[in-house]
Symmetry: C2
Subunit: 231 residues, 2 copies
């Protein structure tokens, strides 16, 4: 196992994370003492829906996809997580299990922070807690979008939603499409892979998007939004 990196420390993360920014030096040191850093290889499962959640996970570096698994072995992709985002926050106070699975889209360095340690910080540092709650709220909003998309739209609208999501600046910086298969895109939209391929071709024919290898460029974002709106 060369998976454990040589003692990385949390001071680095203070720079990049809006959450860690709220921590003072002694709090940072506290977290530093109570974490383990692990390197996950592309494709590996980082946490598994239903598994016991003893730690909160922090993406120190990498690209991670989060998804829900159903009994009939289908996946619904929730979102792509980047550097300096948390995984499994809601297991702190809620159920003691991960409510979703995550997998590395590329090699990713993950810090595992003990839940009690994390909870201690939350109670001792109000502005840290506020930042975390803010994160919850934004997240909830995205889940509502997802519900609306899956529950009230048909193929075109759902794929439009997916493309709009994947095309946000934040993900484009990472060349996100180079890490996603057609199946991945389909699992965002809640469609079969074949339907997704057919629709993408159709969108391309209508010059809404352009497809260059894995990369998908949006040529007509307004029309895409219109398709999303129409459902």
């Amino acid at each position: 196992m060369d998976n454990f990196s040589e003692s990385a420390n949390c001071y680095e993360c203070k720079k990049s994370s809006k959450y860690f920014r709220e921590l003072n030096p002694s709090e940072l040191e506290f977290i530093n003492q109570n974490k383990t850093q692990i390197l996950y290889r592309k494709g590996e499962t980082i946490c598994k829906q239903g598994a016991f959640a003893s730690h909160v996970l922090y993406i120190s570096d990498g690209l991670v996809s989060s998804y829900l698994e159903s009994f009939n072995n289908r996946h619904i992709n929730l979102k792509i997580l980047k550097k300096s985002e948390f995984i499994g926050l809601s297991s702190i106070y809620g159920d003691n299990i991960y409510n979703y699975s995550t997998a590395a889209l590329k090699d990713s360095t993950i810090c595992m922070i003990k839940k009690d340690s994390f909870r201690k910080l939350l109670t001792s540092n109000g502005s840290f807690a506020s930042e975390i709650i803010k994160g919850y709220c934004e997240n909830e909003n995205q889940l509502f979008n997802k519900i609306l998309s899956l529950g009230s739209k048909q193929m075109h609208g759902r794929l439009a939603d997916t493309l709009i999501y994947l095309h946000n600046q934040y993900l484009q910086e990472e060349k996100i499409f180079s890490y996603l298969s057609r199946k991945d895109i389909a699992e965002f939209a809640g469609l079969s892979t074949e339907s997704t391929v057919r629709l993408l071709t159709e969108f391309k024919k209508d010059t809404i998007i352009d497809i260059i290898g894995k990369e998908i460029k949006v040529l007509n974002p307004d029309l895409l939004k219109e398709i999303s709106r129409r459902g």
Copy 2:
């Protein structure tokens, strides 16, 4: 307008709410001074998705349904809220708007609490804040279920999920079905009303449920769960 009730006070709510239980007398009095109580009639909209959210709402008494509205004027029902639950919590730190709509299923008494007042309590009282966060987490979990249901199951599975949800003890106490139309049930499952009716008839024929007027009784919960699992 006889909508404003004669100064009800928060001490009553301390008994029934797991949240208010965490507040001390002066905090209760503080909230009491910063709230307005309003009676909503059956069918009235209590808060509207997209509207400016200046208050956190608390269901002092009644029965409320929360739902998402899409552009193409479809509704997706999220959950039924009862006495002593909050509406619009996530507008405290997140967006300044309601992320979903709510409507009274029967006459309901709602307390409107100013957001800043509520926020003050959150920062001053850690265990109150923890209870609220806990609420978030449970809620999130339900949203995941919804996403999985809408995104990975077909009609039978989705309706099974809906019936399972509506049959929890907590809602049965309220004779929930007497307040729900077929359309309401359909909007929980993300189906058309007609498909819902057809499926209910089918479930009845298979003695999975019994239908007596508006009331729906579950005769075979295990089979219902199996249908849910199969998707």
